[in-house]
Symmetry: C2
Subunit: 331 residues, 2 copies
């Protein structure tokens, strides 16, 4: 613990509360919530809680610790202004599910903070301090966003934290993250919702004949609508093009079926896509990265489907990173 | 068994072969396949096999038994011509996955056959005699298609067969069946294929971040492409409007997201649709149906999401049917 930074969490809902619990085993942790009830509950569970964000930021600054924005994204503006006023160069991350907009906000409101974006891809249908758990993050992907200008040392703090929580650390640029989750998470939610609506519009006979494919295809439509909205509406900029890409592919399939009667292209390409998904992560090999272009190498790891498994801030060769990276054939 | 009709199965692949095995416990069964190897395999397993369709049809006619077309739909034309030549008024059903086109074909090629369409909604990824099993149909929906002009007595033969195989018997008109399965089975397959293609097009980062919603939404894209094509392309007439209905709903959601930033309508309607699916079959009550308009009553059972649980060809009040039917409130 001695060489690990202290962790200071702003917001103690499902994610922030789980983070406080999970990191307590390896880090000095403290937290703050705007809700007195939540502060009392966290304190009653044995956690160090401070009364206001300023205190938390001052302590983080003094300890060179890592501040985590774990509030709803709508509260980020206010909190970032306080960061800039109290601890303008503090190490800072957030846990929001969209990343480019947060990066822009940090650039505008707390431009000198040493910021790395995070998106731990874990969650449940529940919310609030009581819903949190120390193992929420185990096995999840923890996306970290950075640019060539990012503070590599703070990235290492964040990666070390996520690795300690048993996450796969995926480095990427913020817009690439937003496009990727639009395609593989937000779009599937919209498709499930639209399919559920169309199926129900088909009437009782249709629903009585529905089985596996309809059940699988609509499963996430059971998620609370406000949670889906919070996720999808904030990623509108990346989600609209994802929907358009889907509409294009389905539209071509529809046109082919209506005109020639054939679905050969859609069935072949879709099957191949599913096989790629099932085989992802295969053929990766473990490499050690270091050097002046380490950030560039990290971004390449994420872009190629790899992930980071260890970080050493002071390796033999300066900062070092172990990462799974796709193996390429020689030929 | 004495009062049950003999069963004569033309085609001994997955469905026909399973039917032969499953019905052997309660019916006199015999079968035919165009493949000598398949005929030999079925005979070696102890089943009565005939050498040609004509023999099978003559025997069925003499016994007033039920002939089942269990060949690929592409072979129906040839077999129906033989029915018309050898046993023009035989009791006849089929097990194809689309129903209006088969009904039209029967009307054109074997117009005096006492025909009831069937679609047992069971199957596996495998095919051929060896893949069949006696419990393939257990718990499945067995759709029966009929019109006001259909032979009710033959419908009762078919329903009795399906009930003996532990199926839910769903009576409906052929076009309604085709539209329903287009919505709840064929459309979900096309969506899974298009989503898998779009996700894979997103590259390795997208696939590495894909989790539950993408996995569920693309699961059936793993089905062999030729099986999806066989299912979907033959139901083109009903599937194109189903795709269009889906494109309309998703397009409206896309437009709302792009213009107002809100997904409130899509999330609410989709969630409500999924809840309807999860609660289907609730609120049904068991009724006994009989009378001159029994076919009309049966069609109403299917259209309202109900199903048949028992048939009595000679009840106290003529033919009688027990069916689950939606209970309506008095107010």
């Amino acid at each position: 613990m001695a060489d690990r930074p202290s962790l200071h969490v702003l917001g103690l809902g499902l994610i922030g509360g789980s983070l406080l619990r999970a990191a307590a085993a390896t880090h000095d942790v403290s937290g703050w919530s705007p809700s007195a009830d939540t502060r009392d509950a966290a304190a009653a569970d044995g956690f160090r809680v401070v009364a206001d964000p300023e205190t938390l930021l001052e302590e983080a600054d003094a300890a060179d610790g890592l501040v985590v924005l774990a509030a709803p994204v709508t509260a980020f503006g206010d909190l970032l202004r306080r960061v800039d006023a109290v601890a303008p160069e503090v190490r800072l991350t957030d846990v929001g599910s969209v990343k480019a907009a947060v990066e822009d906000q940090v650039e505008a409101l707390a431009p000198t903070a040493r910021f790395i974006g995070s998106h731990p891809m874990a969650g449940t249908q529940h919310s609030g301090w009581a819903a949190g758990s120390a193992d929420l993050f185990t096995g999840a992907a923890w996306v970290t966003t950075l640019t060539e200008e990012s503070d590599l040392d703070t990235w290492m703090y964040v990666a070390d934290l996520a690795l300690g929580l048993q996450c796969r650390v995926v480095p990427t640029e913020a817009p690439a993250h937003d496009s990727a989750v639009a395609l593989v998470s937000h779009l599937p939610h919209l498709l499930a919702l639209a399919l559920a609506q169309v199926g129900a519009d088909g009437g009782p006979l249709a629903l009585s004949l529905a089985a596996g494919s309809f059940g699988d295809g609509t499963r996430v439509a059971a998620t609370r609508p406000e949670l889906i909205r919070a996720m999808c509406e904030t990623n509108k900029k990346a989600l609209v093009p994802a929907v358009d890409a889907f509409l294009g592919v389905l539209g071509v399939g529809r046109g082919s079926l209506a005109s020639t009667g054939s679905l050969v292209k859609l069935t072949e390409a879709g099957h191949a896509g599913r096989m790629q998904f099932e085989q992802r992560g295969g053929g990766l090999e473990l490499l050690t990265l270091s050097g002046d272009d380490l950030i560039e190498q990290l971004l390449s790891v994420g872009a190629s489907g790899g992930h980071v498994t260890a970080v050493r801030r002071e390796g033999d060769d300066g900062p070092e990173v172990d990462a799974y990276y796709p193996a390429y054939d020689d030929d």
